[in-house]
């Protein structure tokens, strides 16, 4: 019988050996054939309308109007309550989405190809900060921006990516780590590096100079633009590590604003869930913890591959933004997460830790043994639909997910 340590080395190898390339932007219906009308993919483990939190409901209402399935937000809410929409997790369709994580037929999706294993993963395009759909915003400004992303930005990015033959993400991430990004709540460097590589192809393929100017302006003002690329990359890297017998490495961590869920390689695609925690962080002027929704989004896929809070030592500036302590404490997060992983990624190193690789491959055994819950950097959504982002902070994954997973994992090994 294969040992757990052997299986975990294989799981880690598959995550680390992936070669992710951002190859295209396509309409979601072309990438995911199951995305028929009235089908909505969301962040986190499975959930129905009745248990959805405020920002998830706000996003559902907004996207239903955007897709033309409802005449207004009230109509969308009524239809949702009446069961007119089919809800499925992004993770069940090779996709991920930040915060509410709405993925529907007409939205453009980033396509990341894992050239080592031949699989693809998808994520929507980042809308910027503040009042945006993924945080539950759904007014005319939000929906107008989504239409522009669908009609102008998405097609422009797709043409540029096809023209330049794709952008290899592994070296780009490696460079971003040396420039102060952790790829979850700080993407300044990687967004800039991506724009630098894309700009010539955008200039060659944009249909009008006005479109080109608008695209460059949007990318230049959005420090978090790269987050969605990093998320699609995370999904593309972790999917090949699914379903390895005897492997106790986590292949997904995700939240729908009500439940936190994890998947573990050796237990297949089963979700292990628990109530989500409340982030601890800093709030934008005029907001406080009383306004905050609990943890939400598929974005914890970046921690699953060793970035985000796991790579905090690379990004001391983000510690202050998140209200997570002093910049000098950044390395503490990374060192702590190193205690619960199967290994390190030699391709992604941190200068401040003498170029140690980021801790990668969360082992549920180590989480349960040490009671060290994975830390996740996150944005904070307002608890009510329609408001948007109100802050940013850090949050812990609930230990119950890992404890339940350990019990089920032991049963797969006939050790329960």
């Amino acid at each position: 019988m294969k040992s757990i340590d052997q299986a975990n080395r294989e799981g880690l190898r598959r995550i680390i050996d992936g070669e992710p390339v951002l190859v295209d932007v396509v309409a979601a219906r072309d990438a995911i054939p199951q995305l028929a009308d009235h089908v909505i993919l969301h962040a986190g483990p499975p959930i129905e309308w009745e248990r959805m939190c405020g920002p998830m409901r706000g996003a559902v209402m907004g996207i239903a109007v955007f897709e033309g399935w409802a005449k207004d937000l009230d109509d969308a809410a009524s239809q949702a309550a009446a069961g007119s929409f089919a809800f499925h997790p992004n993770h069940h369709h090779g996709a991920v989405g930040p915060m509410a994580g709405m993925t529907t037929a007409s939205q453009p999706l980033f396509v990341v190809e894992n050239r080592t294993f031949g699989n693809h993963a998808y994520c929507t395009i980042n809308e910027g900060l503040g009042k945006v759909l993924r945080y539950g915003g759904n007014d005319a400004e939000v929906l107008g921006r989504l239409r522009w992303i669908r009609d102008v930005l998405g097609p422009a990015l797709g043409r540029a990516l096809r023209e330049c033959g794709g952008i290899s993400l592994k070296p780009l991430i490696a460079r971003g780590l040396t420039m102060g990004d952790e790829m979850h709540q700080r993407n300044v460097a990687c967004s800039s590096l991506l724009l630098r590589q894309l700009a010539p192809a955008l200039a060659r393929t944009c249909k009008t100079s006005e479109d080109l100017a608008a695209v460059l302006d949007f990318l230049g003002r959005n420090d978090q633009f790269f987050l969605n690329v990093a998320m699609a990359m995370g999904k593309a890297l972790t999917d090949p590590a699914r379903n390895i017998e005897a492997c106790s490495v986590v292949t997904a961590m995700s939240r729908n604003g009500t439940d936190f869920g994890i998947r573990v390689s050796g237990t297949g695609d089963r979700w292990f869930t628990a109530s989500v925690e409340m982030p601890v962080g800093l709030y934008f002027p005029g907001f406080s913890a009383r306004d905050a929704n609990p943890d939400i989004g598929d974005s914890a896929i970046v921690e699953t591959i060793g970035l985000g809070a796991f790579a905090m030592a690379a990004a001391p500036a983000v510690v202050g933004y998140l209200g997570a302590g002093r910049a000098s404490e950044a390395a503490t997060f990374t060192r702590s997460m190193a205690e619960i992983v199967a290994g390190h990624n030699p391709a992604w190193t941190i200068p401040g830790l003498d170029f140690a690789g980021v801790p990668t491959g969360i082992d549920i055994r180590l989480v349960v043994e040490t009671q060290l819950a994975p830390t996740i950097n996150t944005g904070i959504a307002h608890r009510e639909p329609g408001v948007g982002q109100v802050g940013a902070g850090v949050v812990k994954a609930p230990l119950k997910c890992f404890e339940d997973a350990l019990v089920a994992f032991a049963e797969t090994m006939d050790l329960g």
């Binding site: 106790s248 055994r365 040490t370 009671q371 350990l406 019990v407 994992f409 050790l415």
Partner: protein, 65 residues
Amino acid sequence: MCPDEAQNRVEPNALLTAAPRVVNVGLELFAADLASQGAKVVHVHWSPPAGGDARLADLLAKLQS
């Protein structure tokens, strides 16, 4: 004091005469209290496997390979 007594006198152990130097294992509160009183203290994070949950600790022991 006679000469014999002087020869046989045992010097107090330095542990009792010098300022305490402490390695604290487990509960961090003890380390914090000592540090607040100026003592040199190194804290070692430790807790029982699985936070002391016997069932999970037993499973972990079976899954160590």
